[in-house]
Symmetry: C2
Subunit: 203 residues, 2 copies
């Protein structure tokens, strides 16, 4: 087993959380480096693309969160070996990134009126669209898991995202959006939350 | 071997081109469905996420271009089996998507002055940054290929993108940007272009 060091912000969410969960579930030892927000400015230029998470594997740095998810998913037995199932797993993870990008971009908006209108446009447009389509894809796979008929890193990634959307912590994104637009993703989120090792992680 | 049908626009470039190249190089038979731009509006709502490429594998649809690249890369022997090398391959493909998203977004800008200022801001900001960082990552891998010390789908994806940037066909993105900011990516682009099977594809 390689020596692993995962570097991400000190929070229960975001792009690094699925990898932490996967490593915990797989029982893979790793150094869980949590960067205080105040230290990020100094660290940012030292990372390959000015972003975290990064994963060090025996000292070699991997950047890009979904690539990290696939890598740790393979180690943890949470990534399909069948190429078609792997592609469906990739698809769900990719879609979460597609919609995360414009949402993350709104974190930089300081004008309250602009933030409100931008977030509301996302809610009415791409956010609702992607939620609906993602739920339809899940339904097509049987409604339980996104790939391989079992828990994979795709489920962990979608779970972290949907939990955040449901939290009401994102201003102008109503907490009832997911239940209203994609109730199947609420069921899925609760299914992953209640996974015995996911529960253990948060305890 | 599964029955494959790849659906994408009828052009030598964009998000579907790396998969076409990989399938050709691997000698994998596939139906190369090319959608005329005029037919896209009617087809768009029928796709899983309102986007192409999509790949049908024995009738099952896979969406998301990099997932498709991984799938066909495995079939064609152009995706690393080693997990660390696979993660480095994923990283380069992911970075091209990261910068493709804001560039593709500019295709919808109709006001010439706004298009100019938006494209110029991309050139001076994230585009130059990502080109520089991608070249540094390539240098770290030895300067020839992004992963596994050989041609992979990452090289095909970067090649298609850099070729487009160098073409001068993208208004307000100067054709000398890549040579100026990331000369190693010019060498890499020419290396992939001169690959015997890449040459054969375009002949």
């Amino acid at each position: 087993m390689p020596t692993l060091k995962l570097t991400y912000f000190d929070m229960h969410g975001g792009r690094g959380e699925a990898a932490r969960l996967a490593l915990f579930i797989g029982g893979i030892p790793f150094e869980d480096r949590r960067v205080p927000f105040g230290e990020w400015g100094a660290m940012k230029p030292q990372t390959p693309y000015g972003a975290i998470p990064i994963l060090e594997v025996d000292g070699e740095v991997i950047a890009h969160s979904n690539g990290i998810n696939r890598f740790v998913g393979k180690l943890a037995g949470l990534y399909p070996t069948d190429p078609l199932q792997a592609a469906l797993c990739d698809e769900a993870m990719g879609v979460v990134e597609d919609i995360a990008v414009p949402i993350v971009a709104t974190f930089g908006i300081s004008d309250p009126a602009e933030l409100k209108s931008t977030r509301e446009a996302l809610v009415d447009g791409p956010l609702s669209f992607y939620l609906d389509r993602l739920a339809k894809r899940l339904a097509k796979r049987g409604g339980q898991y996104f790939a391989d008929g079992r828990l994979t890193v795709a489920d962990l990634k979608v779970f972290v995202w949907i939990r955040h959307l449901r939290s009401g912590n994102l201003d102008h994104v109503p907490a009832d959006l997911v239940p209203r637009v994609a109730p199947l993703l609420v069921e899925h989120c609760d299914r992953v939350r209640d996974h015995v090792q996911v529960r253990a992680y948060y305890q």
